[in-house]
């Protein structure tokens, strides 16, 4: 990035006023593994399909649901266009998500140093979105090829779910899905969502929605679920055993 030969912005306007790089980045997201989130009245759940293209991959080592602060976590969607090619594109999408997680964690700790309070999820979203926006307007870099779903309990104890896109735009959602099959997933969610939903129902619904578009059998090994409840305000990733309990209920 320090090389002056690449000091120009790679994201440039088209004649029609679009930023094609960002559109293409959104396409990369739409081709990625499905992720979804539901905001209940007493907590938030986020979940993703963790299926990888080869049975030889050790799924324990791959983690797309990551805690950022004590009270918030991310999940990301978006791999390279041809996800069947293991290696480059998988690592690129995965790697970019990891980079955002690192930056978010560091900025949250900085916040705590300054204010002696945990960074509220709404602030976390704003700063992460700001980072993603920088990559659309800096020299020698390209936009992130991932969208994030951010779940957390805010400063005023309300549960919140946000989506952050490669452009740096962010949206608050009651429930949403991103990645492959997101249209069907969102329709399913629209039918099932209720404003006064409780967290347990939300987790149940999330699993059902994930199963709708799932290729093959959904097990506790090939999905990941993250939950934050406003009772204790702590974000945690469910263990396979806990996921299995919910799956058993759903069956």
């Amino acid at each position: 990035m320090g090389d002056s030969a690449y000091s120009f912005s790679l994201t440039t306007f088209s004649r029609t006023g679009k930023l094609l790089q960002i559109e293409y980045a959104l396409n990369a997201v739409a081709n990625g593994r499905t992720s979804l989130g539901i905001c209940a009245k007493d907590g938030v759940v986020i979940a993703t399909d963790k299926k990888l293209s080869s049975t030889l991959v050790d799924t324990d080592q791959v983690s797309k649901v990551q805690g950022i602060t004590e009270g918030s976590g991310f999940v990301y969607s978006g791999l390279g266009p041809d996800y069947r090619v293991l290696g480059e594109s998988l690592l690129v999408g995965f790697g970019l998500g990891v980079e955002l997680v690192r930056k978010a964690r560091k900025s949250s700790q900085s916040y705590y140093l300054q204010y002696r309070e945990n960074k509220p999820v709404s602030q976390l979203v704003k700063s992460t979105a700001s980072v993603m926006q920088e990559y659309t307007q800096s020299g020698g870099v390209r936009p992130f090829g991932v969208s994030l779903l951010v779940a957390g309990v805010d400063a005023d104890n309300t549960p919140r779910l946000y989506q952050v896109d490669p452009s740096g735009a962010y949206f608050g959602w009651k429930a949403t899905a991103i990645g492959k099959n997101y249209v069907n997933a969102k329709n399913f969610l629209e039918k099932r969502y209720q404003d006064d939903m409780e967290l347990e129902d939300a987790i149940h619904t999330a699993l059902l929605t994930l199963r709708e578009g799932f290729e093959g059998e959904m097990t506790n090994e090939n999905i990941e679920v993250g939950v934050v409840s406003n009772v204790d305000g702590k974000f945690r990733v469910l263990t396979p055993e806990q996921i299995q309990d919910y799956l058993d209920e759903a069956n």
Binding site: Q114, Y115, E117, P120, S122, Q123, K126, A155
Partner: protein, 204 residues
């Protein structure tokens, strides 16, 4: 001569029942010469947070502006008010950033938290905080003020009684310090508002 004693100051903050008081002298001097008698060192950051800055006058003014700057940005970004505990930490952080070339001030923070309970903190010039539930003092007459506070302080004073105690503690301390005095201001903060009064003392 210490830089912290160049201009002179005396500030006490005290906790009462569901209220806090903070008082300061109003002298500004250049060593022995008195230059002004209306230089207040206690600043209102919000209805529930007051900060007292004792030390070099230029740094007192600079820090007041810096704190306002940080507070405004926080409130715009987070769409909520600063609490005294967080404000105290912001101040501590600001001071430590200048660890090897510090601001010559020793501040105290007095306020009411989210439950309208008293909050007090004091710190040194590089931001080391101390949190107390009775009183904090700072300035050039700390020895006098500690003595007066220890003697006069009682727990759970109502606002009127707190005013009396705080005023007497400050006035007596000022009289024995050459560098502070020339007038005093007292603020009593409760959940219903702030009452500020000028004290009549020896103008010497």
């Amino acid at each position: 001569m210490s830089i912290l004693e160049y201009n002179g100051a005396a500030i006490i903050a005290m906790a009462g029942k569901d209220c806090v008081g903070i008082a300061c002298d109003t002298r500004l001097g250049a060593q022995a010469q008195t230059v002004a008698c209306d230089f207040r060192k206690v600043f209102k950051m919000s209805d529930k947070i007051f900060v007292g800055l004792a030390g070099l006058a230029t740094d007192v003014l600079t820090m007041q502006n810096l704190l306002k700057f940080r507070q405004n940005l926080y409130e715009l970004r987070e769409d909520r008010e600063l609490t005294p505990k967080v404000f105290s930490n912001v101040l501590s952080n600001l001071l430590y950033e200048k660890r090897f070339g510090p601001y010559f001030i020793e501040p105290v923070v007095a306020g009411l938290d989210e439950n309208n309970q008293p909050f007090l903190s004091g710190m040194d010039l590089i931001g080391a905080p101390v949190y107390t539930d009775d009183f904090v003092v700072t300035g050039t007459a700390t020895a006098n003020m500690y003595g007066m506070c220890e003697t006069l302080y009682k727990k759970d004073m109502e606002p009127d009684q707190l005013f009396e105690t705080l005023s007497q503690a400050l006035l007596a301390s000022l009289d024995r310090d050459a560098l502070s005095g020339w007038g005093a201001t007292v603020h009593i903060i409760t959940k219903d508002g702030v009452t500020s009064r000028e004290l009549k003392g020896r103008m010497d």
